[in-house]
Amino acid sequence: MNQMILLYNDPIEEGYVILITGLLIVFGGLILLTIFFKYALPVMLDAYIALKQIGVKKEKELEISKPKVDKREFTGEVTAAISVAIHMYLKKQHDEENAVLTIKQARKLYSPWSSKIYGTQGNRL
């Protein structure tokens, strides 16, 4: 693909073209993705469920109730709660990490690379 370089004699000029082109393409690409997930996917999922309802009336009770629960159970409020929990978790983490390390090191004292020690670790893991 080296021919592309030949198009412009001045690298700076080509640089500007690549800058503009590149940004447009990146934006274009991610806008495409945005549109797909914002509009296309929900439609497709609805269509899929609709198709299923028509085709497979028999297993209705089980199949349909399940995804609905999935959607409702995990709403924004839960998300917020988890967000807080994660925040706290990330804060605390450091102390715990150190504690774990200490215990681990104590257990591992003097356990270099013998095959027998290999075996020991193998059992523990």
Partner: protein, 439 residues
């Protein structure tokens, strides 16, 4: 105090033994010839003098005899990397392997013994293969995909645009590098530092600035993999230092207080479809980014399919660990002083710093721009725009921390993850574009 003198005595003895032994590392070849002549001329010399000759001869091959200022400087830099990783917890999984690699790569040695990373047949050279051929980065991306939850992006796809806006850092730096006189492919590789994504930077520089390709004017492209990788990882580690001032500069208190509504819940099906759809759309747009984006979304599919947890687990633990170890130590070792300490490296470090600033600003300002069109609780907290640079998840954490400073109950982490991962996708697309134009 006595002890200090003792130690300094021993060390200086070793380093200053050079003149005493009548040797000079620069005059190595001359000397060997001389030694050779001497032994032939004096066949009756005693055994002890021969042993001394052996030590003298061996001394020439030690690091003490061959150390130059460059080696010492780079070794100190390696130690600083390790120190930063341990002391301040700045990306230790990267800085510690890279720092050790920098030390390994700058142990002074005499060429010809298959020791150095640039010597064919050496172990380091074999391990470096995965960097030179761009094999390690896609494997890292596979693991990253298998550990990334794209929910927040699926819930709020418009935040994808913040990841796009940050790519101004890539293309702006590319232009800057051109102005500084780098050739087009070299500038492309340097620009990607602004993507704030180590594996992408290594992948692109291994394809464009690898010291092998021939430019249109017949000259060979420079090998900039080392400096670019080091710059990318260094600044990624320094994100908690670089970003906050810019964030405070470009936003006012009121903007920083904006609370965003919690993202909607995302169904399992959406999470399964995401990697396949995103894979198709992004690689159709930028096929040259296939190795990166293909592996990223492949890893994510392994994670989300619900059937291949076993493979996803391996990809995001042992496989990525092994590749991280090998990648880190070889990228570090590629900074061999005689190849690394150049004006180009300094320029690349400068451009890299600027690129992070531009990218952060791009994301922030675009978030403010989007707010012009959004109403009510749809408005974005512009801080999350800064997370568009990638540097996952450090950048999102910095945003979270800044948000907490303004309002201790405003949890931005989940919102910031969306532009954060979008920044990765955006940078990979940008790398593909640059590769298509200049590859």
């Amino acid at each position: 105090m006595k002890k200090i003198i003792l130690i300094f005595g021993v060390l200086s003895l070793l380093i200053f033994a050079r003149p005493i032994l009548g040797l000079n590392s620069n005059a190595l070849n001359d000397k060997t010839t001389t030694t050779l002549l001497q032994t032939h001329e004096e066949p009756e010399e005693t055994f002890i003098s021969e042993a001394l000759g052996g030590i003298e001869q061996f001394y020439e091959y030690t690091g003490f005899a061959n150390a130059q200022a460059g080696h010492i400087i780079m070794i100190i830099i390696g130690i600083i990397f390790i120190y930063l990783g341990i002391k301040f917890d700045y990306e230790p999984l990267l800085l510690i392997p890279i720092g050790t690699g920098v030390i390994l790569g700058n142990i002074p040695f005499v060429a010809g013994n298959q020791t150095g990373i640039y010597e064919a047949g050496s172990v380091m050279n074999y391990l470096y293969f995965g960097v030179v051929k761009g094999i390690y980065p896609p494997l890292i991306f596979l693991g990253i995909g298998a550990m990334t939850d794209f929910s927040s992006l699926i819930a709020n796809p418009k935040l994808m645009l913040l990841g796009a806006a940050s790519q101004i850092g890539v293309f702006g730096t590319f232009l800057g590098a051109l102005y500084l006189g780098f050739a087009l492919p070299e500038a492309g590789a340097i620009g990607i530092i602004g993507g704030a994504d180590g594996p992408t930077a290594i992948f692109l520089s291994s394809k464009l600035a690898n010291g092998i390709n021939i430019l249109a004017d017949g000259t060979t492209v420079k090998n900039l993999i080392g400096p670019i990788a080091i710059a990318a990882y260094s600044y990624m580690a320094l994100v908690p230092v670089i970003q906050p001032p810019i964030m405070r500069l470009l936003t006012n208190k009121k903007e920083r207080l904006i609370r965003m509504k919690p993202p909607r819940a995302v169904s399992k099906k959406e999470k399964m479809i995401f990697p396949v759809a995103a894979l198709l759309l992004t690689t159709f747009i930028s096929p040259s980014a296939l190795p990166l984006l293909g592996m990223l979304f492949f890893g994510n599919l392994l994670k989300e399919s619900g059937r291949t947890e076993r493979l996803a687990e391996t990809a995001r633990t042992k496989l990525i660990d092994i590749v991280t170890i090998l990648l880190g130590v070889t990228v570090g070792a590629s900074t061999q002083a005689d190849i690394f300490i150049t004006k180009d490296s300094m320029l690349i470090f400068g451009l890299g710093a600027i690129s992070f600033v531009i990218a952060t600003m791009g994301g922030l300002l675009f978030a403010k721009f989007m707010n012009l069109f959004l109403k009510g609780d749809d408005k974005l907290n512009p801080l999350i725009g800064a997370a568009g640079v990638s540097a996952v998840p450090d950048s999102a954490r910095v945003v979270h921390a800044e948000g907490l400073k303004a309002d201790p109950r405003n949890y931005l982490l989940m919102h910031a993850m969306a532009p954060n991962v979008a920044g990765v996708i955006g940078s990979a697309i940008a790398a593909g574009i640059i590769l298509s134009f200049l590859g």
